[in-house]
């Protein structure tokens, strides 16, 4: 793709976003919707910038980020380990397969009340929900990626004297890295969404709580701020992850 074409496409991409904001501004200004229901975008963004310097607001963001990363890290370790183990051993595969079949289609949010009852209203139940939701895409992607790895690679490693368990992690997992990372990216976005939801349901802090609190007090401007924040957070995490992915996969052939 040439540079000119790329800038052209970026310009086209900005267009709908600008249109949405312009439409939003137009409706808010025209007075069809009262400002209580739909605040003008300028007010929302001004508030967002104001809040970005507010230590109290940043504390809420920090709490959300902590839960997000705690949950995602646990899901990453568990998902990758189980995925590799399922490829490495027939026994573990026959144990995990039916469990995934039963648990994966279950809406995890529905489990949240049970987690609250068992783990309490604090961080633990929210992190548990993030883990429950993020672990399946990572597990499935790892499993699928590792089972598609060419067996000859393992044979070569074994012939060079690598013990089977080590071959699983140093050869198979590394060869399956693109697929694993795809699963991780899906898991990361899901974590982002789920942590927000959990905070909306039961919480005293975090971005989700800010939204609910503003909603209770009919402060519409403050309702938009956490929503835009979580969107920015998701975009930043996604961009960061893509950069990390490019760096990790620098030895792989470019795909897609």
């Amino acid at each position: 793709m040439t540079a000119a074409r790329r800038t052209g496409e970026i310009a086209i991409g900005i267009l709908p976003i600008a249109l949405v904001i312009a439409l939003w501004h137009g409706i808010a200004m025209s007075g069809i919707a009262p400002a209580v229901l739909l605040p003008p975008p300028a007010a929302v963004f001004a508030r967002l910038i104001e809040q970005a310097g507010n230590p109290q607001f940043l504390e809420h963001v920090g709490v959300t980020l902590f839960r997000l990363f705690a949950g995602f890290s646990i899901a990453l370790v568990v998902g990758v380990t189980l995925g590799v183990a399922a490829t490495g051993s027939k026994l573990i595969e026959s144990l995990i397969k039916p469990l995934v079949r039963v648990l994966a289609p279950l809406p995890k949010v529905a489990l949240y009340p049970a987690m609250v009852l068992i783990l309490g209203f604090d961080d633990a139940s929210k992190i548990a929900l993030v883990v429950a939701d993020a672990v399946f895409p990572i597990l499935l992607a790892t499993w699928q990626g590792t089972s598609a790895v060419d067996t000859k690679l393992v044979w070569s490693a074994r012939a060079a004297g690598c013990p089977p368990r080590r071959a699983l992690f140093t050869v198979v997992l590394m060869a399956a890295l693109p697929s694993v990372l795809t699963g991780c990216r899906i898991g990361l976005i899901i974590s982002c969404i789920v942590v927000f939801l959990a905070e909306m349901i039961t919480s005293t802090d975090g971005l989700g709580y800010l939204l609910v609190r503003a909603g209770r007090n009919f402060q519409t401007v403050d309702m938009f701020v956490p929503l835009i924040s979580i969107s920015i957070l998701g975009l930043t995490l996604n961009a960061g992850f893509n950069a990390l992915r490019r760096w990790l996969l620098r030895g792989f052939a470019e795909e897609g």
Partner: protein, 261 residues
């Protein structure tokens, strides 16, 4: 493969039974009021299902889910296919979708409620939004991967652009679209529960969180089991339908983006 796993449906059944046994065991070991034993909670399931009011609530939830889901498919598949075939359309929608993706759709609920009220309209809209994104994404990927030669042949035989999209691109992209639909189904169920949990008026989510607020823990767990069964039933139904629609294709990749809202 062993003989046991050759019987379809048996391994998941064993897994479910094992989970229930584990639950029963955990309840007896920890003995906290927040975790009633499995058999106590399961006894509540028929009680809820035979209560006409609760049943009506559950059916209302399912109806909203189906409407939202159907609307999302009829919107998302054409958009996704056009994005896959026209660079301009893709460039137009992609950044917008990237911005919307990490926003939990159910989090829009409080704002949509201000506009549309707590009734069916706002819940259906949220379900629609939740389902649309994965379906658009997978339709886009599927349409992008369609072989150019097939389109050339179709054009050479005199098909116009719309017929090509409908008769060539759509069937060719169908296996990938099915992946998106599967994700969408799971999301529909999740958004259904969360939207009802935020706009407490009726529905399964309302039963669930009301029971939690009133400390009726058996009802909480029984409702979770009902929602789980619903999710599993949808999944089984989909697995039954898929080979009948796209039996000609190899199962694409199984990474169903399970979860997320």
């Amino acid at each position: 493969m062993t003989r046991i796993s050759a019987i379809p449906g048996l391994p998941p059944l064993i897994a479910a039974a094992a989970l229930l046994a584990l639950w029963e065991l955990a309840a007896h070991t920890f003995d906290i009021s927040g975790l009633p034993p499995a058999h106590v909670a399961l006894r509540e399931v028929p009680v809820i299902l035979s209560d006409p009011e609760a049943l009506l609530n559950i059916l209302a939830s399912i109806r909203r889910m189906l409407i939202g889901f159907a609307l999302a498919l009829s919107f998302a598949i054409p958009v996704g296919l056009m994005m896959g075939r026209a660079r301009l359309v893709a460039a137009f929608f992609n950044p917008l979708l990237m911005i919307i993706y990490p926003v939990p759709k159910a989090a829009l609920m409080p704002i949509i409620m201000l506009w549309l009220g707590v009734g069916d309209a706002s819940k259906t809209l949220v379900i629609f939004l939740g389902v649309s994104l994965p379906v658009i994404y997978h339709s886009y990927q599927g349409a992008r991967a369609v072989e150019e030669k097939m389109l050339w042949s179709a054009a050479a035989m005199g098909m116009n652009a719309r017929a090509r999209l409908l008769r060539v691109v759509f069937p060719a992209a169908l296996p990938e679209i099915m992946v998106g639909i599967r994700t969408g189904l799971v999301l529909a169920l999740i958004t259904m529960v969360t939207s009802e949990m935020i706009a407490r008026k009726q529905g399964v989510g309302d039963i669930l969180f009301n029971a939690l607020a009133m400390a009726q823990y058996e009802t909480v767990y029984a409702t979770i089991v009902i929602i789980g069964l619903l999710g599993f039933a949808i999944d089984v139904g989909f697995e039954w339908l898929r080979p009948r629609l796209v039996g000609w294709a190899d199962p694409v990749h199984e990474i169903a983006v399970v979860g997320s809202t």
